[in-house]
Subunit: 464 residues, 2 copies
């Protein structure tokens, strides 16, 4: 249970502050590397960070380094001598090593690659070919891999020799003479089968695999959908390259969810693994500014419409009471519709091909929402406005006014619901990321249409 | 790879339409249960669904049923005779069985429990005690569990006998005489150790565990943070009850992300496992209506402010050109700040205790964004408005007007950024879910403050 860890972390902080190396090491012994990485990230000055890493030393550091946000790794590595860096890099699992090398500058990458043993360097270089966000860029090659033509006894002997180098034995994959994936066995099948049994007799077909060049999100979605303990990654010739595991899938899905959530709020740039509090103001600024600026100037279109309808507004200034409501409700219903559609696309439930079905569903929904909201607004106007002796120009009755406002709201809600659901589908058709079309962009678009709808209907109904 | 599956699914649909039972069964043979569940869900009439399940039969159905959205399970079960239902329920893993029983009516639950064997019924009843969203409600009890006092040979013999009933052997947990969790071994440690070795010599301490009554999200976050292959679930006496696995964690995290995303768009009610297209209009309506209505009437506060400032707006109607921009930009920056803070809280990076740090960060950020956006707006006004011969009342210069509008925008952006970041933290302090405070609610709040800020500053600067 996690209760004790906050005390232990406190003790770690105290040892660090006192620069007491042996107390620090003793305490760190009992702390999970993920907590050590979080503690390191929370440090605020370089001296503390240097003491932290130097004291842990190159034996304990690999797990911690592999768990740090990418942006912090290059600087952390500099604390060590080249000989220590060599030791560190050799200890880090291959997929994490590739992540680290992808995060540093080209020069540093070349230098670090030069430190590796010949065969590790080659392996790492071949993994670096795959983009960071592909299945190949995420996989580990340190897997149990056996020839399909051996027996259970031979299999166990081979695995015993590979033990040091394998990250996962949950699923063991079988290949033919050309390294092509042909099946899989579980360690339990080996442990509890007669030792003379040929593997081909107990293996399961490996039906699911993914191309190394496929998007990492596709791999994560397959692991999620099919509850896989390991998803084999293959090349164009169906040769087994490595596997992606559920912990990779969790990380990928969390990254993608964060990205979608952030994009939908108009935040640009890559999701940063550094925590909110440790992200510098400049980065926060950069991620927020462009959309704010762009949407601000787009919003002037609404202002322009309002300016053009000066006569209508001045003809019955009471219209101002319902203006923000009509505009905002359009933004809200459009945002809801967009969110549902975008999430359904992210979960693989919807594609642009479904546009007609979506439109039909949202049209009916928009009409239903619009009629009820519009009707309530008419009712409220007719009942409450006379009671408060709200100022209407002569010749216009409260009933006429209420009907105008209610009709405008109904029209705005229907239009916005449709626009909100269809814009993300159109974005996907145009190969844009639908998440960037969400709430803020939708709101700005339906603000403009809402202004036009509101004043046009008011003018027609009230004869202004 | 998944390429062939769309053809196979097509063949399945054809066999279904032709009511060709043997072709259907043969095709279904090659299809993963997750794909079968999705195909079942996509069916639109009851006859098709009945044929689908009856033909698959009670042997093949358990996996498919366990993978269906909860709302569809009760009806699916009705297709079978009580004897078949008994067979089905016995085949379904314990955690999925509990999920299904939680989804049906009280009457059905009682009846189905009555169908189970005595010991299965007791186990299921004890699992049903835990809430659906707790660690206990999610765990599987079908795990490898050994006494810490046996040898590797005894361990392997015990596991061989349990093979049928264990869902996962990735991690095997060791208990003492009172069933308390004391350690863990991996199957590979057993398979490759000398058979006489006592388990205590090769076991690892089981440092991480979770109480059965803890929230499922906490369990998922631990699995994610510590890359666990299995997280043991214990009771108050530290007795081992079961484990939660990474595929549970993936499901929990996806549910929680969807919930957060939906709440942040003002969607109420439980996230439905049924896909967007198969959710009836009535459900969509129910999830969207309340927030729309509530926020619509709140938005009338903005309208009221506008009405009160009639004199200012009529004094310089050009103010209308920048009104939507000032209001909308406040909503956008507030939404961005809220999104970042809410996501950071969901990832466990932020708590209400950090409010002062957040406020200080967002205040500086708000000022920076506000000054740059406000400055640009002043510049644009001073340069462009005279060029278009925009109508200003006598006695007010374009410079005065530009400064008023720019200052108002800067004030609105600063205030909204602060409000957007702090409201979710305040919600969490008050034990409300911060996600419901996001975009739409923030927008409505800063719409009102924005109206006041805009007209107050305009009146002061322009002397209206």
């Amino acid at each position: 249970m996690a209760e004790e860890s906050s005390e232990t972390l406190h003790a770690l902080g105290a040892a660090l502050a006192a620069r007491d190396g042996s107390a620090f090491l003793n305490t760190a012994e009992a702390i999970h590397y993920a907590d050590l990485a979080a503690a390191y990230e929370a440090l605020e000055n370089d001296d503390d960070r240097e003491f932290f890493l130097r004291t842990l030393g190159p034996e304990r550091c690999p797990d911690v380094l592999a768990d740090l946000p990418e942006g912090l790794v290059a600087k952390a590595l500099q604390v060590f001598t080249p000989a220590q860096q060599r030791e560190l890099l050799a200890e880090i699992p291959d997929d994490d090593r590739v992540d680290i090398l992808q995060a540093v500058s080209d020069d540093t990458r070349r230098r670090l690659l030069g430190l590796l043993e010949k065969d590790e360097e080659e392996l790492t270089r071949s993994l670096l070919k795959y983009g960071e966000e592909t299945a190949g860029g995420r996989m580990t090659t340190q897997i149990g891999r056996l020839s399909a033509d051996c027996s259970v006894q031979e299999a166990l002997d081979t695995l015993r020799n590979q033990l040091e180098d394998t990250e996962t034995l949950t699923r063991i994959f079988l290949v033919d003479a050309r390294d092509r994936l042909v099946g899989k066995v579980r360690l339990r099948d080996l442990a509890f089968s007669d030792h003379g049994t040929p593997l081909r007799e107990i293996m399961q077909p490996a039906e699911l695999s993914i191309l190394a060049t496929a998007d990492q999100e596709e791999a994560a979605n397959m692991i999620s959908k099919y509850d896989l303990a390991a998803l084999p990654v293959v090349d164009e010739q169906a040769r087994l390259l490595g596997v992606i595991t559920p912990d990779d899938a969790i990380e990928i899905l969390e990254e993608e969810s964060t990205e979608d959530i952030e994009k939908s709020a108009g935040l640009t740039g890559e999701t940063n693994e550094v925590t909110y509090l440790h992200t510098p103001i400049a980065t926060h600024f950069r991620r927020r500014f462009i959309w704010l600026l762009g949407l601000a100037f787009l919003a002037m279109a609404s202002g322009y419409v309002m300016l053009r309808f000066e006569g209508v507004l001045n003809g019955a200034f009471l219209l101002a009471l319902f203006l923000p409501m009509v505009i905002a409700t359009g933004g809200n219903t459009g945002g809801q519709a967009a969110t549902m559609v975008i999430r359904a696309m992210a979960l693989g439930e919807l594609e642009p091909g479904h546009s007609a079905k979506v439109a039909w569903k949202e049209l009916r929904l928009g009409l239903l929402l619009g009629l009820i909201l519009g009707g309530s607004t008419t009712l409220v106007s007719v009942v409450l406005l006379p009671a408060f002796q709200a100022p209407l120009p002569p010749g216009i009755s409260f009933m006429e006014f209420g009907l105008a406002v209610g009709t405008a709201l109904a029209a705005q809600v229907t239009a916005s619901t449709l626009i909100g659901s269809l814009l993300p589908l159109m974005a996907r058709s145009a190969n844009l990321d639908p998440a960037v079309i969400a709430a803020p962009a939708i709101t700005t678009v339906v603000d403009v249409t809402g202004m036009v709808i509101y004043f046009t209907i008011a003018r027609a109904f009230l004869g202004l």
